[in-house]
């Protein structure tokens, strides 16, 4: 871990100013991912701006019947909130499918969205990785890629986004609220928040330098049945091979978003009418254009089968 300086401002304006003022400035909240990567020098911030006092730790109703989740609300608090459990079950279920109780007690809503990939080549600084060190190549392509992506990937990078929570957020059409150094507030649809790698896999989100996430807004509840099925090699405390978030209505309509397959939560709204037909036809449409490796080809079938299981349970 490289040396850094540290401060703990009281207001968002101070925090944004502070992160821009010093070279290598970074926000830190829960720190569960950032510190992990700093120890490996995958991340090397020169200045840490601790945002824990900024007050973004409430969950409040919005005027149009949704909820606004403060950026600092921890995963545990969010998953346990009675309104989330009742009206956004898929979000609660996605959160508790991820990490461990200890990590969820520290990890925040904003930090969860900003998690970096778990690609082993990204984590090992001896290995080539275009995301970590642009232009160094991709170790995963042609290497060990069983856990990596097949949708939205590029010849530069096949990393996946590791978050479970983000998959549910994508399903719910959440909006990410931010503030920048001149006080501009943005509301970014989650679909636009994470960027595909293309030739610039080191750019992962639409955030601009110094832009601070203040919260996430959930639209009014969808009703329906909420399911999150995460498939992994061990029963808990593991990243997804594939995860499927679904909200399904009585009339057969529904939404589905998938984790573990792409650099962002993978959802194709245009495919969703096919849910009424069959899991196969929906999955074929959702996963069209897939670029699997030999190691992760099984994820195509696994997505379809996981969804088939969900439809089977819900429609039984």
């Amino acid at each position: 871990m490289k040396p850094f300086t540290y401060e703990r401002p009281r207001t968002a304006a101070d925090a944004v100013a502070a992160v821009l003022r010093k070279p290598g400035g970074r926000f830190i909240a829960g720190g569960t991912n950032l510190l992990d990567l700093m120890k490996l020098q995958v991340e090397t911030p020169g200045h840490l701006v601790d945002v824990q006092d900024l007050g973004f730790n409430k969950i409040e109703p919005t005027p149009d019947g949704g909820l606004r989740i403060g950026a600092l609300v921890t995963n545990t608090v969010l998953a346990a909130d009675p309104r989330i459990k009742r009206d956004y079950g898929v979000l609660s279920r996605a959160i508790v499918a991820g990490a461990s109780g200890q990590l969820r007690n520290k990890a925040t809503t904003a930090g969860n969205l900003l998690q970096r990939t778990r690609c082993p080549y990204f984590y090992d600084t001896n290995q080539p990785c275009n995301k970590r060190q642009p232009g160094s190549g991709c170790g995963a392509i042609g290497g060990a890629s069983r856990g990596l992506g097949l949708m939205g990937v590029s010849t530069s990078c096949i990393a996946t986004h590791p978050s479970d929570m983000a998959v549910a957020m994508r399903l719910l059409d959440a909006k990410v609220e931010t503030i920048d150094d001149v006080g501009t507030v943005r509301s970014i649809p989650i679909a636009d928040f994470h960027q595909l790698p293309g030739t610039t896999p080191h750019i992962e989100t639409i955030l601009r330098p110094g832009e601070l996430i203040t919260g996430v807004e959930l639209p009014r509840p969808l009703g329906g049945r909420h399911v999150y099925h995460k498939v992994r090699d061990r029963a808990s405390y593991a990243f997804a091979l594939v995860s499927v978030a679904a909200v399904l209505q009585r009339d057969g309509s529904g939404r589905v978003a998938v984790g573990g397959v792409a650099p962002k939560p993978w959802r194709v709204e245009a495919a969703e009418p096919l849910l009424r037909r069959s899991s196969e036809s929906f999955a074929n449409s959702l996963l069209s254009g897939a670029a699997p490796t030999e190691d992760n080809h099984f994820k195509l079938a696994l997505v379809e089968r996981t969804l088939a299981g969900i439809l089977h349970e819900v429609r039984a």
Binding site: N126, V231, D233, R305
Partner: protein, 734 residues
Amino acid sequence: MEFSAPSPDNAIDQLKIVGKPTTRIDGPLKTTGSAPYAYERHDVAADQAYGFIVGAAIAKGTIKAIDLREARAAAGVIGTVSTLDYSPLALGPMNTANLFGGAKVEHYHQAIAVVVAETFEQARAAAALVRVDYARSEGEYSLDRAAHTAVSVPPEEGERRAVGDFPSAFAQAAVTIDREYTTPGHSHAMMEPHATIAAWEKGRLTVWTSNQMIGWGKRDLCKAFGLKPNQVRIDSPYIGGGFGGKLFVRSDVMVAALAARVVGRPVKLALHRPLIINNTTHRAATRQRIRIGAERSGKIVAIAHDSISGNLPNGKPERSVQQTTLFYGSANVAVDLRMAQVDLPEANAMRAPGEAPGLMALEIAMDEMAEKLGLDPVVFRIMNDTQVDPTKPDRHFSERNFVECLRTGAERFGWSDRPAKPASRREGRWLIGMGMAGGFRNNQLQPSAARVRLRRDGKIIVETDMTDIGTGSYTIIAQTAAETMGVKLTDVVVVLGDSDFPVSAGSGGQFGAVNSTSGVYAACIKLQSLILERLGFDSADATFVNGKIQVGSRSVTLKEAVQSGELLAEDGIVYAKGYEERAQQSTFAGHFVEVAVDSFTGETHIRRMLAVCDAGRILNPITARSQVIGAMTMGAGAALMEELVVDTRFGFFVNHDLAGYEVPVHADIPHQEVIFLNKVDPWSTPMKAKGVGELGICGVAAAVANAVYNATGVRIRDYPITLDKYLANLPRPD
């Protein structure tokens, strides 16, 4: 005490304390965080500096230069050590890969430098400033590519690889199978990283480290640093897991010792977790072929087992075939052990080396053969039991109750309820299956010594360099001393892991418990004679009961016996030459598993596990059971998730941390039942016990694999049995 014949009745047979369920005497320390592990010794060696190891970034090649200037100039740095400043340190007989010194890189993350600083944070940051210039060499990193170059490893002395005429018998057998199986590399993944505090004082080296085999460690440190035995001390009272990964001193000890000499201060360091998997040793991957020929009745007439593993030059093979010459009766047996050179990190012992991967294959093959014969797999195994060593039919097993393990297990588990036809039982979306396997592991005899003192307060102090790696050594040694000396458990103090104490068997090969307690028993018997001598009692009639020595009507308390000064006895158990050859000492198990497989996703959940173990007398049913359930858990990991993933281009284990190398978590493991037959084996030692800590893993993975087959109808011969391997053939619900 020399042991040369089956043990007659002795003090242990009283079973007042030995054999009783006894909670660990070190439990209150461990559950409160009060037991000190290697890195935590703030109580020793003042002014400790922190070291951080730099690992090689390439798998094979030469280091052209190491630039330490930036690292040395970094804040807080006290000193640096470079591999280029030393010739390779001399290795002990069990090590293969170079541990430190020289320009040659033999494997990824080999230790090549260490930076020492005032704080851990400074040392870690400065280590990242070490610049290394490498010349890479071509290497072979794929066992599959190298397999055809594998050559047979000559048998060890006394080892028989063949009996009868396998080729003819197999060719003429009515029913045969010929299958190939693969097992991946496994990592010990013990929770405590390898860690050492090293200090030099007047040319004498002391290391506080985490090591299973203190005697070996001392021997190897003497060799590496050219020291005499009285110039080296190892202290390892608590070890946060080993599983074979801490049998031999590793780079942490070597570089801590070098660094401490360089900076003139005690240095402490640990292998950081992402370094451990490639820096240390692992269980080798194997490619195995098994051929079984049988009569239609089910009697095996021919069995052959070939295994290929890879290792560095001069490394040892994974002896996956070693149980196959002893486990099932067959007149015609042939095994072949081959090794190929691969340039991955050193393969070496991990819990039940040989049998663990060997039975992963053999016990699937037995399941397949039973199915082909139309026999129940329990019945098939019972039919092929043997009471003699098949390669030397006049040599019997000391005690062998494998059939009883199977019968007891089948009854307790409800085996008769197993779905006869694979993929035929459903509970909603779940496919349910049961599987079983046999377990086998030899009992090894090793000399083991101890020192026992009767203190003036009447307490018995036991000192031996034996280690407790979670096995329960503290407790069973205390039980042994209490039983022999006729005192309460709380009157015994056990001190372990210090190389200044008599050399014990150490912890490995499931030989720790039985041999170390036998050594303590021997020392106690000697202490008894010293006490009687001092009291002038006739030893023949004396008994040691309730803290007293009684001869006829005379009775003296132990405390009274040492009024004039404490007594100290040192002795150990040694085994007469050739004694082990007289009878084959082995341990046996029947493993039973029930799984549920999600018919949509292929996710497997283990629902129940049962092990029935035949391992001689059980010294402490609580700690022995823990050893077995822990081994069953590790076996479940081997079955379903554990795999060192190799990057065959760059030559390293890719998943080199505890997030990437998945081991079972709480949610994976159901209730586990263990039954001990508790059959006394006087052939083993005065304790009449045998090893059990490795038996528990032997066969478990195959039992899981066979259960998955029973559930799904898809046979996977390539571990771990992950869903991607059978998803395409998994029957869906209608």
